[in-house]
């Protein structure tokens, strides 16, 4: 479990630490910086698992410009830092020195160097460091080639137990921003070795290949939210023969092609994911991802309620809380929904706001003076929705 995340120098975030519960929700007005916090986690996860800065940023966040980082007053470089504090209280600081550097002869924004430090009080131990020319690993500082050793592999080669713990935390992030389509004409053929889990087709195949029982449980879980939901049909296309779901074997190493079709309860025909409503797609994506992610992993969801009717939202929060607890998955999400907030307790909520001096601040709602004051006017077992009813946030 991740206890704390600290982000430094990313968009509106100068430096903020967020203490995480098993379930943590970030609330706040439009433009307060909630999405920036989620984007920083997305960026960090991608960087720490070996992605290239420009590819990650341009494809997942926004065009890569100096505005993406908290460049202070005409500085030409900055340091994007991401600190993970584990349950045992170990601090792992991932530090990325972002600067205008020459890449292929042109001046662009890139990573000048990066390092991972383990910080224990005043003691700092460099776990690894790499810069644009070379990379070094461990205390012996053996030089290894830059290109073929992304962070993930470096961390894996470092056998310290704590590093294994933090590596696991990073690798098991699941981030749901919005369901995407990776097809232009409806049905999509998906290769088993790289299903895109940002699509509901991809996550369904990934889950089915992991465990049929979990797939069935995910379907039952969705049925609690969408009554009458019918499990997707997943077919294996193998040398022009189409085979049924029973032939899909978990952890099969052989690369296969699949197609996924979905059924709308109102119509007998099968459709591609494109024909599902966005509210249905969102529920399916979230629940399948929750079952697809490993136990003890960390799941991040932006605007969890997107596209959903309010009656469905309260069922969704109840179900994801239950299943996240059962599967020991830690959840972090942003929301604007009153229905979601009715299902949350005050300690689970982080209040995000932006002011001119400090940029974005994220503070547990229970630590605010406003809450300290207002709680006397509220009933004992109030929800966050009751707190927000006061208009003070």
């Amino acid at each position: 479990m991740i206890r704390k995340i600290t982000i430094e120098n990313f968009r509106s975030i100068k430096k903020q630490t967020v203490v995480l519960n098993k379930l943590t929700a970030i609330i706040g007005k439009n433009g307060s910086g909630k999405s920036n916090f989620i984007s920083a986690i997305t960026l960090f996860k991608s960087l720490a698992t070996g992605g290239d800065l420009d590819v990650i940023v341009n494809s997942k966040i926004a065009p890569l410009t100096a505005e993406l980082f908290y460049f202070k007053d005409h500085q030409t470089d900055t340091k994007f830092e991401f600190t993970l504090t584990t349950r045992e209280g170990n601090n792992f600081v991932f530090s990325y020195h972002i600067a205008h550097i020459k890449i292929a002869g042109a001046l662009r924004i890139g990573i000048q160097n990066e390092c991972l430090k383990k910080v224990d009080g005043q003691n700092e131990v460099i776990v690894y460091r790499r810069d644009r020319e070379s990379a070094y690993v461990g205390e012996t500082q053996n030089q290894i080639p830059f290109k073929i050793e992304p962070t993930r592999l470096m961390l894996s080669s470092y056998s310290d137990e704590n590093v294994i713990e933090v590596t696991k935390s990073i690798l098991t992030y699941t981030i749901i921003i919005d369901t995407i389509f990776d097809t232009k004409d409806g049905l999509n053929i998906i290769q088993s070795n790289r299903p895109n889990t940002n699509t509901i087709d991809g996550v369904a195949i990934s889950l089915l290949r992991k465990n049929h029982g979990r797939f069935d449980n995910a379907v039952k879980s969705i049925q609690k939210i969408i009554p009458g939901f019918i499990a997707p049909s997943i077919l294996t296309i193998d040398d022009k023969n189409i085979k049924g779901i029973d032939t899909i074997k978990p952890q099969d190493d052989e690369v296969k092609n699949y197609i996924v079709t979905w059924t709308d309860t109102a119509f007998p025909d099968k459709y591609s994911q494109i024909s599902l409503s966005s509210g249905d797609r969102r529920v399916i994506h979230i629940i399948f991802s929750l079952f697809n992610t490993d136990e003890q992993s960390f799941m991040v969801i932006e605007e969890i309620e997107n596209g959903m009717h309010y009656e469905r939202i309260s069922k969704l929060i109840d179900e994801i809380r239950t299943q996240a607890t059962n599967r020991k998955v830690q959840l972090l999400f942003t929301t604007h929904s009153n229905e979601i907030l009715k299902g949350l307790t005050v300690p689970e909520v982080i209040y995000c706001k932006k002011d001119t001096d400090q940029g974005t601040t994220l503070i547990p709602i229970s630590d605010t003076i406003e809450y300290e004051t207002i709680k006397n006017d509220l009933r004992g077992d109030h929800s966050v929705a009751d707190v927000l009813q006061s208009g003070l946030f």
Partner: protein, 202 residues
């Protein structure tokens, strides 16, 4: 021109800008204002008045707190309830608190001056009385806006225009609860300015 800091508790998302405009206009001869905090609950303010009072005076250190609530055709003594809740926090704060009880709603203050309303709603024949029905002032404003033919403004713009253009003296004369609020606000403002002046000399 002296300057004072205000906290305002009000009801209804559309209200804050016209409320601010009206307060500025009422206090214009006395001082300039800066609003340090404005709070609108998703329900009536009565249940939260004591918390708001603490936030305004202890956390934000405002000079004056303003509480505006609708009477909603209820027979409750809303003014008495607000006063009691402020008194419970600290009776001294009452000298620096202005209370407006809009009967039945804040929108009535905006529509009492029919001549201004006709101008805002572009009702050209001024001899014709303002269309009236049995509905609330809130409903009446929305209806008048919806029948405007060309270049219809948003409700938000309508509220602001009414607040900017209404004849304050006329509304004070013809709307008792508005006049009570104005007198209360001016008195509280004078208290505050006197206090500031005294503390300067001390």
């Amino acid at each position: 021109m002296p300057h004072i800091h205000l906290g305002i508790a009000y009801e209804g998302e559309l209200d804050i800008e016209p409320v601010q405009i009206l307060i500025e206009r009422i206090l214009e001869p006395l001082c300039q204002i800066t609003i340090k905090r404005k709070i609108s609950p998703h329900t009536g303010i009565i249940g939260y008045v004591s918390s708001y009072t603490t936030i305004f005076f202890v956390q934000d250190c405002v000079d004056i707190a303003i509480y505006l609530t609708d009477q909603d055709e209820s027979s409750d003594d809303r003014r008495g309830q607000v006063i009691e809740k402020i008194r419970k926090v600290n009776p001294l704060y009452l000298d620096f608190s202005a209370i407006g009880i809009c009967d039945p709603h804040f929108e009535k203050w905006l529509i009492v001056d029919h001549n201004t309303a006709k101008k805002v709603f572009k009702i050209e024949n001024h001899s014709v009385p303002l269309p009236h029905n049995d509905k609330t002032p809130k409903y009446q404003i929305a209806t008048l806006k919806n029948v405007m033919k060309d270049n219809q403004p948003s409700l938000h713009e309508v509220y602001n225009s009414l607040a900017r253009e209404l004849d304050i003296d006329f509304v004070r004369t013809n709307c008792l609860d508005f006049n009570v609020f104005c007198e209360n606000l001016i008195e509280v403002c004078k208290n505050c300015l006197r206090n500031k002046e005294n503390s300067k000399h001390n």
